[in-house]
């Protein structure tokens, strides 16, 4: 009974104050653009690895040649997670970014083990998985953009 009364009062206050309900955060252009930037950098890295395998230049795929690229991408992602943690009601976006961070860590571990010429199948699976991840993130960003009326 008490809970019901509180609910009625809360809804009443919302109506009176003219406030709107917010269950998920507002669209943030910086977050959206950061995801796009990470997408460009990471997919460029993967495509380069694929081409070197296809062209049989696999010695160029040595992890040490890519260490700076991974550091830069991980830095961008960590900065983005910090930003999203600070935005109100952005925990759902953070729930996407954390497993994505885990995926990049796994890619880096895979790279340290070494890409072989036989890894054409593996790199294809990696690329398709990461493309899937970005598609999911873009779907949510577009949903937030539509909410804000910016699409």
């Amino acid at each position: 009974m008490i809970l019901y009364k509180r609910l009625v009062i809360s809804i009443g206050l919302l109506i009176i104050t003219g406030c709107h309900v917010m269950l998920i955060g507002a669209y943030d252009e910086v977050t959206d653009q950061s995801i796009q930037k990470i997408q460009n950098d990471l997919l460029s890295l993967i495509i380069k690895i694929e081409k070197d395998i296809t062209d049989k230049n696999n010695q160029l795929n040595n992890y040490e040649n890519y260490k700076a690229d991974y550091t830069a991408i991980e830095g961008q992602l960590q900065s983005l997670i910090i930003r999203c943690n600070a935005l109100p009601k952005y925990n759902t976006v953070v729930d996407q970014l954390r497993p994505f961070d885990s995926t990049i860590q796994k890619l880096e571990k895979f790279h340290k083990l070494g890409f072989q010429l036989s890894d054409t199948g593996s790199i294809r699976v990696i690329r398709e998985t990461i493309e899937f991840d970005f598609k999911q993130m873009i779907i949510l960003q577009n949903g937030l953009k539509r909410k804000s009326g910016k699409e």
């Binding site: 109506i15 497993p99 796994k106 990696i126 998985t129 899937f132 999911q136 949903g143």
Partner: protein
């Protein structure tokens, strides 16, 4: 025994449908799309392992990426559900506000 894409997909869809009950319809399309991607990759990884073109360590990393992908897809669905619920609630609040103003005769709210 080799993994079969169709069997794997059917098992995933069935498990999710039974687990989610009435909520399954709302996420069916995105969930099925995610499961198709996951199932195909699991079959691919298993084939590579069987052919010896991938070590167990690398196979585990690739499977781990599939688990991460499912978590990301679940977060997407949660976000889209929240957006839909928010829009519905705000529409309801707006209707009540309009009705109150009409009843009173001027825009008190």
């Amino acid at each position: 025994m080799a993994l079969n894409f169709n069997s794997l997909l059917e098992d995933m869809v069935t498990a999710a449908r039974e687990s989610l009950g009435e909520h399954w319809q709302g996420i069916k399309d995105v969930a099925t799309s995610s499961f198709k991607s996951l199932a195909q990759h699991l079959v691919d990884i298993e084939n590579m392992k069987a052919k010896g073109t991938i070590t167990e360590e690398k196979a585990c990393l690739l499977i781990g990426m599939q688990k991460d992908a499912i978590k990301i897809a679940i977060a997407t669905e949660k976000g889209l559900s929240l957006l839909a619920a928010e829009a519905a609630l705000n529409a309801a609040v707006d209707v009540v506000r309009s009705a109150v103003n009409r009843a009173i005769g001027f825009a008190i709210l």
